[in-house]
């Protein structure tokens, strides 16, 4: 059977599964819609968190990025996992003890002010919308490549599916579809990785194969071979980096802290029954995430080796079929500059003849390694699962921000539970439509938005939540000043260096050589510093807030 038929079958079956789960888990109250009734087991929540967290970017783009960055790719590997330590140790258990529904809920109650709550809502909306647009786009791209439908049709199909389980089931529907989506995506990620590891090194476990000798009889270690290939083509050695140590440090830190501050990740920990479950669940989540994250760098190295060996200095007329397939999508381009009919793939831009979009590395990997067609189809289903699960989690944050933090807490406090639930559904529905619009008409700043989402989460929520728990003296003046300044500073830096506003600038103008991706670390430190100073110059928080902080610090349910 050809790839397309396989893809229709596998994607079709997984979609039916998601819809089936959605129909079985209709939310009957806001408690069910917001936190799935609060009775999700730590293991199920761990799986759901992993799917929630691992987006189209993790599944489709990350291994490709690492494959082109070598050592520097560690910023994503450590940055997008290390935040779970912060979550488990410094945030999740206390927020679970606090026992409400949303992140702005905590900010608003802890800082006894609707201004703080509104700042929280605005930050949550900016972070979630920038993030969700990329997910819908990812759905469209996967559809376009594997089912040969236009990208826009793909986006609309994705919207319909998410609409189904997010609007009907809320957190309840999302949780159990995410569990299913985790299983699909991890299976889809591991199968080709294991095949390729066996082919290249004879070791089935990619994490081991990564550091093993090649199976081609040369007795060379894979990584030594790759460093050698890089040197021949003029690239920096794969296992050493090109970025400055300070920038690597700043980016890794910003991604970690941003992870811990992302509302769609935090709210997952409101769904477990006890405080101790929140800690355990963060541990499970990280195990499930680590399976993919420790495989990704292995795939990156395998794919890089395979790619160079297949295309470098090859006759263009003799390239394999996948090369031509991806050329038609425009994601691979070849211009025969010296007209010798061969592909020169070199670090030197003047003589290099090949450009490869990093996003195709995972999607094309099974084809490059000549794996069976059903494996290729499986990867398509996995990419869709990753994008849909993350989109759903983000839509829930948007929906609760509107129905709970705006309508229930500020505009109409006497609204009935049924009324609030209706608003939650309307919010989710609107969010799906807006997200779909951005997926079809991606704003020019999409490339900048992931960094922006993390930077903003790091610069706004993380300090406000951590200080809210660990500094009893922190008051609303300090927290609001810190959040607003941190957010504005981050936006300013991003607009200046990513969108060339405020006079623009290039790499040489970066403050201390820190890239916009790493600037969240600086903005976070400014937030912390400013909050501390201002809180000490203004009146302490009222006694009831201090009592609340004491209560979230003591054990119990």
């Amino acid at each position: 059977m050809d790839i397309q038929i396989w893809t229709y079958i596998i994607v079709g079956v997984t979609f039916l599964l998601y819809i089936g789960i959605a129909l079985r888990s209709k939310a009957g109250s806001t408690n069910e819609f917001y936190v799935a009734g609060g009775g999700v087991s730590p293991l199920a929540n761990g799986m759901a968190t992993a799917a929630d967290w691992m987006s189209a970017a993790s599944f489709i783009s990350m291994a490709g990025l690492i494959s082109f960055m070598g050592y520097d790719g560690a910023v994503y590997l450590m940055g997008w996992t290390g935040g779970y330590v912060l979550l488990a140790l410094m945030l999740a258990p206390y927020l679970r003890k606090f026992g409400k529904f949303t992140v702005p809920d905590f900010i608003g109650d802890r800082y006894y002010s609707n201004i703080a709550r509104s700042v929280g809502v605005i930050c949550a909306l900016i972070v979630s919308f920038t993030y969700v647009a990329g997910q819908m786009r990812g759905v469209g791209v996967v559809f376009a490549r594997f089912l040969e439908v236009p990208v826009n049709t793909g986006v609309i199909i994705g919207m319909v599916i998410v609409f189904f389980y997010a609007v009907i089931g809320g957190m309840k529907g999302i949780t159990y579809t995410q569990v299913a989506q985790y299983c699909v995506l991890i299976f889809a990620y591991m199968v080709p990785a294991i095949f390729i590891s066996l082919q290249l090194t004879g070791e089935w476990l990619p994490q081991i194969g990564f550091g093993s000798r090649l199976a081609d009889g040369s007795g060379m270690y894979l990584l030594d071979k790759l460093d050698g290939l890089h040197r021949e083509l003029g690239f920096a050695a794969y296992t050493t980096g090109a970025k400055s140590t300070l920038d690597i440090f700043a980016i890794t830190f910003a991604l970690m802290v941003g992870t811990a501050g992302l509302p769609h990740v935090i709210i997952r920990f409101f769904t477990v029954p006890h405080v101790r479950d929140a800690r355990l669940s963060a541990g499970y989540a990280l195990i499930f995430i680590a399976v993919l994250y420790t495989t990704a760098p292995a795939i990156a190295a395998f794919a890089r080796t395979n790619l160079i060996e297949t295309v470098a200095d090859t006759e263009y007329s003799a390239v394999p079929g996948w090369f031509k397939n991806w050329e038609t999508t425009g994601l691979i381009t070849f211009t025969d500059k010296n007209a010798d009919g061969k592909i020169q793939y070199l670090a030197n831009p003047a003589r290099n003849e090949l450009t490869i979009d990093r996003d195709i590395m995972v999607l094309a990997n099974p084809e490059i390694a000549r794996l069976p067609n059903w494996v290729v189809a499986l990867v398509a289903a996995g990419g869709l699962a990753a994008a849909l699960s993350t989109a759903a989690g983000l839509l829930l944050v948007i929906s609760t921000s509107i129905s709970h933090d705006l309508i229930k807490k500020q505009i109409k406090p006497d609204i009935s539970d049924k009324g609030e639930l209706l608003w939650a559904r309307i919010g989710a529905g609107l969010a799906v439509i807006i997200a779909g619009y951005f997926g079809i008409n991606p704003p020019g700043f999409v490339a900048a938005t992931v960094a922006l989402a993390f930077g903003l989460a790091a610069a706004s929520f993380f300090p406000a939540i951590v200080l809210g728990i660990f500094d009893q003296r922190m008051n609303k003046e300090g927290a609001v000043a810190g959040m607003v300044t941190g957010t504005l500073l981050m936006l300013f830096y991003m607009v200046k260096f990513k969108l060339q506003g405020f006079g623009g600038g290039n790499e040489s103008d970066w403050w201390l050589g820190i890239s916009p991706e790493g600037f969240g670390t600086v903005a976070m430190l400014v937030n912390f510093g400013l909050s501390m100073v201002i809180s000490r110059l203004t009146p302490p928080p009222p006694a009831r807030v201090k009592a609340m902080v004491s209560a979230i610090r003591t054990p119990g349910d």
Partner: protein, 91 residues
């Protein structure tokens, strides 16, 4: 009684902060230390096909994160039990 309750809660929190500080120091060392700041020094050591610094940056740090969380879960569950065995809110 209230005095005792307060004292016990403070003890629990102090112990928690101790665990936190220790584990976060390990977290920092395994990722930012071994994977970034001292990566070149560690790269002179080889473990199989891996340079050690590179391995920490792309594999080891992630394993250490998982272990850290489970150590914290274990320590806190023990601490919770101890605290709940002498419930501060009973007479």
């Amino acid at each position: 009684m209230i005095m005792k309750k307060k004292k016990q809660a403070a003890g629990y929190w102090q112990k928690n902060l101790q665990y936190l500080t220790g584990l976060l120091a390990v977290w920092f060392t395994c990722s930012f230390g071994f994977g970034i700041l001292w990566v070149e020094k560690l790269n002179t050591i080889k473990m199989g096909g891996f340079k050690l610094g590179f391995w920490f940056a792309q594999q080891g740090a992630i394993y250490s994160f998982v272990i850290i969380i489970f150590i914290y879960v274990f320590l806190m569950n023990k601490l919770d039990k101890k605290f709940i065995a002498n419930p501060p809110n009973k007479k």
